[in-house]
Symmetry: C2
Subunit: 267 residues, 2 copies
Amino acid sequence: MAQIVRLDDLDDPRLRDYTDLRDVQLRLRLESERGLFLAEGEKVVRRAVESGHRPRSFLMSPRWLEGLADVLDTTDAPCFVLDDASIERLTGFHVHRGSLAALERPDLPTPREVLDAARRVVIIEDLVDHTNVGAIFRSVAALGFDAVLLSPRCADPLYRRAIKVSMGSVFWLPYARVDDWYGAPQLLRDAGYTTYAMTLADDSVPLDEVPRDVERLALVVGSEGHGLTPHWEQQADHRVTIPMAADIDSLNVASSVAVACWELRPR
Amino acid sequence: MAQIVRLDDLDDPRLRDYTDLRDVQLRLRLESERGLFLAEGEKVVRRAVESGHRPRSFLMSPRWLEGLADVLDTTDAPCFVLDDASIERLTGFHVHRGSLAALERPDLPTPREVLDAARRVVIIEDLVDHTNVGAIFRSVAALGFDAVLLSPRCADPLYRRAIKVSMGSVFWLPYARVDDWYGAPQLLRDAGYTTYAMTLADDSVPLDEVPRDVERLALVVGSEGHGLTPHWEQQADHRVTIPMAADIDSLNVASSVAVACWELRPR
């Protein structure tokens, strides 16, 4: 079981995985360099460990020790204990439900591995908002799609905010990053997928006219501001639009994906 | 046309509608007491005025005067001009695209008036997040629903963040607040609506089994944390659930409403 380590020196080098939580850019660099990610709050910490991610350490105030005892029992990683005020000073913000874990960032499968094991995937291009990425994972998982592929510039699904919004689905839903983004349309074709790009293009089919019997289907969505790049818009097998009432030309990207996953769900 | 007033004294009483923009609670009280709301950014200011809301004043830096000249032409309200740094000092934050307008808060119709003029409505109970309220207005408007009713504790659709996320649909989509929330189920019945409460209750019908020929349909959704109150859950004519894959028990509330509005859209 985890070794309980009570600390009072915030400069203790063992705490360095938990500093500067308020600075998104700094954290993203630090977490990527050190190969870790953070889980925040009792429920998320539990889900992270139970879904097979390896904890490097835990950090919590004393009152969370009991609630997470069964989780701590399953690992040899140290559990650092500080009072709530010290945790807040260390991390730079009010930690939700006083518990954190630093976990090893998992090795992702290759895009082709993800595609071969799936039938319904969502491909997201250059979505920079962690809330949107998390919400899309949640919808994909809830509505029976199988996996997500990310462009190189997409926000990190294992960033704290994305994890939380995803309800922890980033821990178990298969996903991969596509390094060769330009080659992504061909990659999808080679894996036997029919690709549907969500756009407002003139030659789009309305969402409810997409055939129900597509064997392997990939839904491709673009960034918050500009939508899909012309490359993807042109290279996709089909373009698809959610028909809109007057005066509004689109849903937000997370709502669009939810609607499209619902309409195209396996059935 | 609007009178252009160049100011340099941030204590000028004519600027008092624009102070303390960072403090959500203070702003909400202040805007409600003074009967105003704020529009932020060239596009939103334009939409607010063009949708018929009466401006009390404008506040912008010099470079926005030209782009909004046609809007300023339509009104006698004063336009206060400050440099960007002063606007930031006054309001307490970086104003998106350097322009603001303070507008008269409109008199809302009664719930019954809204219901009589509609066929498809969304009823939201105690949603406290302005982003969620804005996203729901956007989905409702985009997917062909007609109106929204709000419980007394719902977040304000005319708060800055909600306006922005709604893409301005709060300016023209009919909505009302229901003061007598306990009586709301009866109000809906009296107006000829069949009510569908979105819940995870055991006796829920799956969303795709809701009949398509409901004459007047109201979709009722509850708060982010706890869902609908028992009163509404029991008083609704039907309970409806979006069928979920394993391991996730719900979508976020804005995505749920988007999916349900799509499935139940007029057709």
